[in-house]
Symmetry: C2
Subunit: 387 residues, 2 copies
């Protein structure tokens, strides 16, 4: 397998883009990434997206985006793995370059969830769960996560407020990210006063519904220096790409409080990269809900079982903490345009690794990890990146 | 890149499976393929599917199928490229094995289009077209193909009946395929009397709405003999895998009567395989509508422009003809469960190449080609297979 490097990144601000359709959102990110890598052509475009068929009546999305971005003729395909679609598309691009088939590959993640012509976004998101055994009974996606959080609080005797630190950290970092949806800090009082969404998950535990797009350019590592044009500190290598799954429905899992797919995919990634958790300088985890932050830290080797919530302090997860997480605001503050999130995470990791993270710069960041979660933990994809 | 071979195939009969949900359809094909390859485990499962989100309220489909097939933990992702989703998933599996990342990969195509709990299948299929510039105006998918066929008949002064031979050939072959939806021959009279769907496309020009699933097992060519267990004549190599796109909306194409993506992807495939059209022993083309058969033959190097329809005779495309096509019934007679079709085509090519095609066996079939079309020609994926 050839080494694969990232030589260009692009993103648009996350928010409610009522004036733009999904092709425009994608164009913004793709064109920025192409400019960053100084290319005007690619061999293929892989798109991570979950909901364009249901919400926008548009399948065949990758080909549409290739067309709209002026890339007539190139290979294009959409990859879907619920909220892990972005990382799944990245992985397909990684395989295309690693195999030797393609030399220059674009990967974009895009989602338009607001101002959609049809359907309810909440109902659409529930299609990530088991349609016949979960969503058919009316449980929403936040409802499923609430069941998990409730169980966690019961099993480990943890109060709701124990999760506040994840949200406070995300907003502290998002405040300095011009691409974040919510660019203002919150405090414990904000968390306490937040309206309940599905007990015990409140508004400050939850990532928002929003629109966004992010993109990266992948090339073989041995050609990466050709594309890096000065303003970067260097290309970023993909040291590891690993994907794993679990039972789709929570009630089928061996233990609903352990993210087996996070464990499996991170272990595979550590092995492939030849590093352990102690060498990870920062971790872009998937904080769709605060409970997922705790479970991800536990399954990925950063905390003991039942103790992930103890890391929700600035000393532990802040920019200068032991393991900085959600360094550009995470899903909570930057936003969670579902199929785009996995690519945003990687774009942000590249910013950190190339010293472009501004006020959020993690000192001496050399190795970063991203983890994208689909459904209530059934598909989890981990990437490890390094300069 | 490593060579990639197919060592197992599975399919279920195409039809209206009102008693089975999509997970059961997929299980039928996946378990048959696993049995054929004599495996009880795989490294990854890639699923081609277009409509499960819209019609069934089930995204995250690949992980669900991995779960339901007893493959807990393995990598899973869905690949979508409208009606070319099956071949797009195969291509992802091909990349995963070719890269050296995985050794045993399952690829499944599955679609459930009948007895769906929500929405109209006709409206869902229109999501393959440009939502804002085509389907928003009410044009259906058959409507778009009717515009193309009308133009073809006008430009080349061809009568409707010129296309009948494609349909007659498909049904002649499908009559001997136990997995085909329509297992009876038709004649010119049947074609003449068929009700009009969207002029000039009649019922006998059109592939049916149906349910189906097919699967293959991919391994590195140098390990293929370990998996082939006696009843086969041998593993089948994937000599070429190539994908190309065109503008999504017909009105944006340089010429609506030329399938540029078919031309591009077949030229890439010929180059990769080191063979030309004259060496192809049979061609599983994408006869969603008879007009697509004519256009595919023209763009892929088998007929001059405007003359593809002249091949619609038994001497040309019959089992013992110059270039046998749709040898197991094609989309018209076997059926077109859209996201599954690309995998059915490959399963059928393997049957031909291993001498298992029964009454439809193409004599001395050594090199076969499959071509899967998404939308009205915007994504076209070509594979060349050989023993």
């Amino acid at each position: 397998m050839r080494g694969v490097s990232i030589v260009g990144i692009g993103q648009i601000p996350v928010g409610e883009h009522w004036d733009q359709s999904i092709r425009h959102l994608a164009y913004g990110a793709v064109s920025a990434a192409m400019q960053d890598a100084n290319i005007d052509r690619a061999d293929a475009l892989y798109v991570g997206n979950m909901l364009s068929g249901i919400l926008l009546g548009q399948e065949h999305l990758a080909t549409l985006i290739a067309d709209f971005c002026g890339l007539r003729g190139i290979e294009a395909a959409k990859v879907e793995a619920a909220c892990a679609s972005g990382a799944a598309a990245l992985r397909m691009g990684y395989l295309a370059v690693a195999s030797g088939l393609h030399d220059v590959v674009l990967v974009a993640g895009v989602e338009k969830m607001t101002d959609t012509p049809s359907g309810s976004t909440t109902a659409a998101l529930a299609t990530a769960a088991d349609a016949e055994y979960e969503s058919a009974h009316g449980v929403t996606f936040v409802g499923l996560n609430a069941l998990i959080m409730q169980r966690y609080m019961y099993e480990y005797d943890v109060p709701m407020e124990a999760f506040a630190g994840f949200s406070i950290n995300a907003h502290r970092n998002g405040a300095h990210n011009p691409y974040a949806m919510f660019q203002r800090p919150i405090d414990l009082e904000t968390y306490r006063n937040a309206p309940m969404v599905a007990e015990p998950i409140n508004m400050m535990d939850s990532s928002p519904i929003c629109d966004g797009a992010a993109a990266v350019v992948l090339v073989p590592t041995d050609r990466a220096r050709e594309f890096v044009t000065g303003h970067h500190r260097g290309p970023v290598r993909i040291l590891a790409s690993a994907s794993a799954t679990d039972m789709l429905a929570i009630h089928d899992r061996r233990d609903p409080l352990f993210l087996e797919a996070a464990h499996l995919s991170s272990q595979k990634a550590y092995l492939q990269a030849g590093v352990g958790p102690e060498e990870i300088d920062f971790f872009e985890l998937h904080d769709a809900f605060t409970i997922m932050s705790a479970l991800s830290l536990e399954a990925t080797g950063f905390a003991r079982r039942g103790e992930g919530w103890r890391m929700a302090t600035e000393e532990e997860i802040g920019i200068r903490g032991r393991l900085p997480i959600t360094t550009m605001g995470g899903l909570k503050s930057r936003g969670h345009p579902v199929g785009a999130t996995g690519v945003y995470q990687v774009v942000e990791a590249v910013l950190q690794l190339t010293g472009q993270a501004g006020e959020n710069q993690v000192p001496d960041a050399r190795i970063g990890m991203t983890q994208n979660i689909g459904g209530s933990g059934a598909t989890i994809i981990t990437h490890i990146l390094a300069t």
